[in-house]
Amino acid sequence: MFTNAKGKLFQYRNCQILRDHEIFTEDLWVRDGIILNPEKIFFDERISADYQINCKNSILAPGFIETQINGKYCAFGVDFSQEELVKNGGVDKVRKGLLEHGVTSFCPTVITSPPHVYKQILPLLKKRKGCNGGAGIVGIHVEGPFISEEKKGAHLKEFVEKFDNGIKDVIDMYGDLENIAIITLAPELKQSKQVIEDCVERGIIVSVGHSVANLVTGEEAVSNGATYITHLFNAMLPFHHRDPHLVGLLTSNRLPPNSQIFYGMIADGIHTHPAALRIAQRVNPKGIVLVTDAIQATGLPEGCYKFGTQQIEIKNNKATIAGTDTLCGSIASMDSCVRHFSKSTECGNVEALEAASFHPAQVLKISDRKGTLDFGSDADFILLTEDLHVKATFIAGELVWQKSGDVVSVISKGS
């Protein structure tokens, strides 16, 4: 559709927009892919919209931002950790597939792999803007290999590494750090203070996870600059009242003043019990970030699949390594996680939507242009039903996906 026509002014009407932590009736004004302040246009430019788009009473919310889409395998039959799949149009397949789940930006996530794999794959996952070809890539999430062997989850033990020589080992492992947005590491590893500080200095978000760290080690990591926890409760030691481990970071009073710890949550109803989801949400509602941790099998029917060297079994909406109970990522979509989160925590639509947009944008330090509908932000947004089913997805003002042809209707000026 023409909704990105250059220099034209678009007024999205008849919608309930999410702004300033509230959902209310308001129009959204967009020109050249940016959300504008209509009051300034009215009094300074004295013009009206070229096109009015009737959103038919949809909720209009910021596009979802997915900070962890991976597993050993990755969504839509593509594994970001396997070179041949990434090379053969796999990235674009995922980018495109994410649009219908309302995802406008994401971090392709590469799990624990041998060094040569990172050097082949990371250059193929460069940052790029979203468009009608698919969601934008805001940087790679490297989940491993600097993790705990004990809490490796579905990652392969033989590739787990240490960084005894500090950041040098990190650079030797990944090659170029340029496209890395997030690194998940186990903070109990030797030299972690130096590695965390060096990563933060390079603008990389440090997330603690796949770890056996106790709370004190977790607090030190946060003091050193870590700001994120990778899939809370999963692949870490459980909450214990005498040592709450990393889970205790949610209520720690030993974090730097005015800091906000963020934590990823796989709200697919399988990785985390609804009661645990509620505990996290109630004690630290501003830090929750919904992630899918989606794997290659997303969207496939039940059965056994051979991906890479491992057999995966899909049954009852769960993906496990065949013959074991080890979960190996979810097969959930972002929008279903948002619905599940909203329903099981009764947090309401605002918090559910912000947990998949504003909060991940804050994690990635891009909330000045993504994750909100503030004036000056990129016009990456979605239209949803009252019960949070995605109806249409827009990137930089362009309609890039719609469920059916009648989601919106357009009136042009003068007609």
Binding site: D27, E39, F43, R46, I47
Partner: protein, 270 residues
């Protein structure tokens, strides 16, 4: 003069909106014939704006061929300041209706040359063919727009220093800090409003009842600037019961007996 007495604030808002609609529709505005409307800000007209928006949303009223001129604006307050009258008009009225932005005029209190800005405003009103209907509210001291007590009754659009009472009354909009309230404003003059074909004044609440008494039951006096409209051929005051508390029983009874006639003025057009 007409005085329309209604029960509550809500009734005043509804009646005023229906009256404005009726006036616009009867005028039959079009591309060659614009209806010019003078507009106030403040808590009194807010309900009327909400009713006008409802009428617009119900497809019963269009502002496509309406030109508006606002009465006043603070000096030195940025347009997008939440307490500026630009912001008030945008948030409470303009963004909800179909007016062409080119036709909405508000004095620019940040203009480099304030006198020139005021003269230009007068010129624009003249160019638009004068104002058909000027809507206003009044302060408890009987001021209309920012024509504070003592203003000339033949004044034109100009820079005006605000009375201390007005500054203190407005401090509640600036975090209770009197020093943050601008102490000057640009305002149309009493004479500017007098030139309109018709003037409609909204008055609600017991705290305005003495001003209403001064406006209509005593002589014309520049200390109660709204009293000037006793000499206007078409003035309509719309008030609630509370605002009549200081009026004579005779006055109230007389105008109430006319309500049957006055109500027809706000009826749907044939």
């Amino acid at each position: 003069m007409k005085l329309v007495i209604l029960d509550k604030y809500k009734d005043v808002s509804e009646w005023a909106a229906r009256y404005v609609r009726r006036r616009i529709i009867d005028f039959k505005p079009g591309p060659e014939r614009y209806f010019t409307l003078g507009l106030p800000t403040g808590s009194t007209p807010l309900g009327m704006y909400q009713e006008l928006i409802k009428l617009h949303k119900a497809d019963k009223l269009s502002f496509k061929y309406v030109i508006t001129f606002n009465m006043d604006e603070y000096v030195g307050l940025e347009r997008d300041h939440p307490e500026s009258y630009h912001s008030f008009m945008w948030n409470n009225f303009f963004k909800h209706i179909d007016i062409d932005p080119k036709n909405a005029h508000i004095l620019d209190g940040t203009a480099a040359n304030l006198v020139a800005e005021c003269n230009e405003f007068e010129r624009l009103i003249k160019e638009a063919g004068g104002i058909e209907l000027f809507i206003g509210g009044i302060g408890p001291d009987g001021h209309i727009a920012f024509n504070e007590p003592g203003s000339s009754l033949v004044s034109r659009t100009r820079v005006k220093t605000l009375a201390q009472d007005t500054i203190e009354a407005n401090a509640r909009f600036f975090g209770g800090d009197v020093t943050k309230v601008p102490n000057e404003a640009l305002t149309v003059g009493v004479g500017t409003v007098m030139d309109a074909n018709e003037v409609m004044i909204l008055i609600t609440g017991a705290h305005k009842s003495f001003a209403l008494h001064k406006a209509i039951e005593e002589g014309i006096n520049h200390m109660w600037t709204v009293s000037a409209f006793q000499q206007h051929p078409h003035t309509i005051f719309i008030c609630d019961e509370d605002a009549t508390l200081e009026l004579r029983v005779k006055t109230v009874k007389y105008f109430k007996s006319l309500m049957r006639v006055h109500n027809k003025l706000a009826d749907d057009p044939e």
